[in-house]
Symmetry: C2
Subunit: 248 residues, 2 copies
């Protein structure tokens, strides 16, 4: 096969060929040289340009599809995608890690630990049968001496029976669950709300103060493992989400 000139001869010298192809094309797209809808070269053309086999080109383009940068249609070719709904990666950290990242000492208090059966209200939000054994807990996470976050958690003991035997006075339930249970899906709902009387008392803030609430449900093998509501006291508390289209 004839080895044509390499498109980028002044680029980083190393890295794999398929990675080179990917970054070359990514650069063309994010810089706007290839606008949305533009047809990118056929596989056999890239094969010649880079002097490599079709498999290598295909791997590079397949990963661009995964990253959402291009779409491919048989018999038509590959095209730069029109930007759609923006999607961002939201990192949900362990609360202990969060607090320590602020340079503050961390501790937490378990204020409630209750074993009960599921009722009708749980069915809606938790997707469990009535009377399924649940472990209900409330705890407050501290940053230094100030309350940082109120955690209200339900654990489905039908899926995680070991949780009943754990003394969560020492181990935070979130950290224990992450280490213990393989989870396959999670849903987060993020909203703002004014602190009600009980929340204000627990977090030692004024009633009516704005709070950031994160509600998370976690599934494993199609069953809900746990549901947690995290209420952040600090008005300054911020979630950060980042996005880069190529995933790099």
């Amino acid at each position: 096969m004839a080895v044509a000139d390499q498109p980028t001869d002044d680029e980083a010298p190393s890295a794999s060929l398929n990675h080179r192809i990917r970054t070359d094309i990514t650069e063309k797209i994010v810089s706007g040289i290839w606008p949305p809808g533009h047809r990118i070269p056929f596989e056999h053309v890239l094969t010649e340009q880079y002097g490599c086999s079709r498999m290598t080109v295909n791997k590079a383009l397949s990963e661009l599809v995964r990253a959402g940068l291009i779409e491919r249609r048989r018999r038509s070719g590959s095209f730069v995608r029109h930007p759609q709904s923006q999607a961002a990666i939201l990192e949900i950290h362990d609360i202990k890690t969060e607090v320590q990242a602020l340079g503050l000492p961390y501790h937490y208090d378990l204020t409630e630990r209750l074993l009960r059966g599921a009722d009708a209200a749980d069915y809606d939000s938790f997707e469990v049968e009535t009377d399924t054994p649940l472990l209900q807990m409330t705890c407050v996470h501290f940053a230094g001496e100030r309350p940082y976050c109120l955690e209200e958690r339900l654990i489905n003991l039908a899926t995680v029976p070991e949780a009943e035997t754990i003394d969560f006075a020492d181990t935070a339930p979130g950290a224990w669950l992450i280490a213990q249970v393989p989870w396959s899906a999670a849903e987060h709902k993020i909203r703002a709300a004014s602190a009600d009387r009980a929340t204000a008392k627990a977090l030692d803030i004024a009633k009516g103060a704005a709070c950031l609430i994160v509600e998370r449900r976690t599934w494993s093998s199609g069953k809900v493992i746990t549901k947690v509501r995290l209420t952040y006291a600090t008005e300054g508390h911020t979630l950060v989400a980042r996005f880069a289209p190529s995933g790099e």
Copy 2:
């Protein structure tokens, strides 16, 4: 090559082989059969089990690495990863789409449109030189007759000079920018805050009411294109983020 028994003979009949291998392994991991740290079979073993070439097995395992489910070490093998920080996909929709999804009529008012040069305060948050031309806009998005969201936006005219010529009375700046500019990175900060006097007036809510604030900065080719602060009036407004480790 000897074709050994297929591990899953009661599964979905179709799909590609590498997809089958991937889902088989994913199932083992998320179900807990293979706990974190467990070594998954070597490539040559899977090659025999599935009666396929090493390339196919390798592709399946490579995608599991991408998905963050496993990690691979030369000479050691491939291992189920210990779950780390949770990461969720946060979808950021166009506001018009958001409102219409609620079944409410959408419109918006442009209440400010100001051409000015960057000052020192912009430098911190916007990463632009002093006197860079900026377009500053404020608008209110309505759901039905109620204010839904307050948008305060800055556009860097050095990177998007065409924006100066657009009449944003008809086209919302967010929608125009997404269609116009290829963006390569975005950062979102999400927090709760009490409405100040101006915000409360713009959104027709009580001063001090809890609001959800999303601040977004968007880059293209290393330069900031736009910075926007979205303040949601509705206490009930919720962002939803989902996660599935295998990306499926």
